[in-house]
Symmetry: C2
DNA sequence: TTTAGCACTCTCACTTCGAGAGTGCTAATT
DNA sequence: AATTAGCACTCTCGAAGTGAGAGTGCTAAA
């Protein structure tokens, strides 16, 4: 089982490039003409025959050009693709947009999704940064009416969660504020587990509140990823291989289904090297709906503090070079932003240390 | 210009029903056979000819069945459609789901979008309840590091807005809390305008904070609608008239475009009678992208406190009866929920009255 | 090892054609 | 006067047929 010759690799690359460009089977003469190759079409044909035998290319029918197989794309992505970078001007423009709207995570996510979709001309998905373990930063209780209280939980990292509580009896705002302040000072910087062990520090109303806080925090912990932002779904629909069939519908349905999406991200994030880019081609045998699609995924964030996922979904015939470069760039950019905003923030309170008690 | 005879109305109704069901042109004999009519196909043909002349039906080509025109749908929706109700069991089931997750507006929105999409088998859109004028309920300031402060704004109605401030010099948490508390008591229940006139009550740090609060509140006021929740986009793709063409792509693109969506909702909400249902057929000459689509829109909320919009988007050939009934039901349900949660809440503080100062 | 030449295969666009669906009109019927 | 049977006419749609062209694989020569 020899590896491919240089020339074979070169031709495979050309075929993939050309197929991505035109979406039609690539013929030998076509390659020679378009890339002014120093060999005849017959030579190319011989090489194409080898690549077909190896399983990297296939023919839709006996006498048609070649089309890359899943294996072909995989070989290309893992061994042949050369790193490309976004043009400097584009990068500066994007950075600029993000730094314009400082500190608004939700806006960042939307912008990131929009830019990914636009640059890759595919559908994009971005999950909000999600702490591996939620840690309490600040608790606020606000009386609304009667026994009804709005609980606002600010996590280390700035995530905010709210919930309405129904108390067993009415409590005044002053008392609520005091309780919230007390709980905040006691448990600031702690995760759910730590708070649980220190639960006995409070009693009465405060104990009830701490229960709710724990419930909420555990719920946050149990979610694999933050909210998912999507964009550019219609980009996928405009691809020729999807206009007629209902493949597109199935693929997009996947993105509409929160469960499936969580599943997809969960499996991926687990096997993920931070900073690296993962490319899933043709659903990788697991996702029937994505048989004709590929996904380029990356992650971002400050490891140990908060991480998120981002990626683009397009037809298998997507421009991997462009997709990978934009995912990588956005991944780094968001990492910088998140780190800058959250990192020091959480470093104020190294774990296991109560400030003033 | 006489009105239609009863029989003509009846036949128009049948044609529309049948076309919605089958998506193919409706023939005279077909109607007689399927609905066991007491007349011959020739009679039906004569009536069809009249309806065609009046502009309610058209023929794709000389010898084909009839297809409703936009006018036909409009006549049907405004004069012929008989009010249908969701089955009682369905209604109970839906209500139950909402009351399960009490007081979580975001969840409600998602659920509402999901149910609308599912029940109408079309794409759905729901905007979060949005106060006509944001009124401050509670302000919180949380020190993060250095001169960086997290400002959390709780509005009357429970909406939460956050923003990171950069102060000119570091300020301790205690001082921040005190400032927040002071501002809260001063301006609780007030809208941006009222706060602006009472701005001179504070100075120094607090004055700066109030400026930021105002800035944020005015930004909230300037947005026409809250966040938009979408669901069931793929439902539209499965409709036969959209599988091949790129009409679907254009229509869905509209929903992806926040600007266009805002525009759509803005124009509609303005001309909207509360509690009523508005049906836009074929883009109504304004939205080129929706030429083949119809939209059924309703609004919900407590007038004067917070209102939102909800609706479904499908092909012109959508089941208006079902769509209208589900939109109306959800509109009422959400109104009840929102009123129940927010109404009394805002009634605590009738405007222009400072509690303890 | 490369290439020219050629026979062979398969697709695709185009045309033809007949069946069938559905209409509109006319004349007969109620 | 309204309804209906009968019928000629129109148009679509799918099937079948066809030729051009694209592209290959193979063979033999360079």
């Amino acid at each position: 089982m020899n590896d491919l010759t240089e020339r074979q690799k070169f031709i495979l690359t050309l075929v993939i490039h050309e197929y991505i460009r035109t979406a039609t089977p690539v013929a030998s003469q076509h390659l020679v003409a378009r890339y002014k190759l120093d060999m005849s079409s017959a030579t190319v044909r011989n090489e194409l025959a080898v690549l077909t035998e190896r399983g990297y290319l296939r023919q839709p029918h006996t006498s048609a050009g070649r089309v890359p197989t899943e294996e072909g794309y995989r070989y290309f992505v893992s061994r042949l693709i050369q790193a490309t970078e976004l043009p400097d001007s584009t990068r500066r423009m994007i950075s600029h947009q993000f730094y314009q709207m400082r500190y608004d995570v939700e806006q960042w996510m939307r912008l990131a999704a929009s830019i990914l979709a636009h640059q890759s001309r595919a559908a994009s998905l971005v999950t909000a940064p999600h702490p591996e373990k939620a840690r309490l930063k600040h608790l606020e209780l606000i009386a609304t009416r009667g026994r009804q209280v709005l609980m606002v939980l600010v996590m280390v990292g700035g995530e905010i969660h709210q919930r309405i509580l129904i108390l067993s009896e009415p409590v005044g705002q002053d008392q609520l504020s005091q309780a919230a302040h007390h709980i905040t000072t006691l448990y600031q910087g702690k995760d759910a587990e730590q708070i649980r062990t220190l639960r006995s520090l409070v009693e009465g109303l405060e104990a009830d509140v701490v229960e709710w806080v724990l419930e909420e925090m555990e719920q946050v912990d149990s979610v694999v990823a933050g909210e998912v932002y999507l964009d550019g779904l219609t980009n996928v629909l405009s691809e020729p291989e999807f206009t007629a069939s209902d493949e597109a519908r199935r693929a997009l349905k996947l993105l509409e289904e929160p469960t499936l999406l969580q599943d997809l991200l969960a499996r991926t994030v687990l096997t993920h090297t931070p900073g690296g880019i993962q490319v899933l081609i043709g659903g990788e045998g697991t996702w029937e709906e994505l048989r004709q699609c590929s996904i380029v995924l990356g992650s971002y964030g400050a490891p140990g503090v908060a991480v998120g996922t981002l990626g683009v979904l397009g037809p298998m015939r997507m421009s991997y070079g462009r997709a990978i470069s934009v995912v990588r760039f956005m991944s780094n950019l968001l990492s910088d932003l998140v780190t800058e905003t959250l990192m020091d923030d959480s470093a104020i309170k190294p774990e296991g240390e109560v400030s003033h008690e």
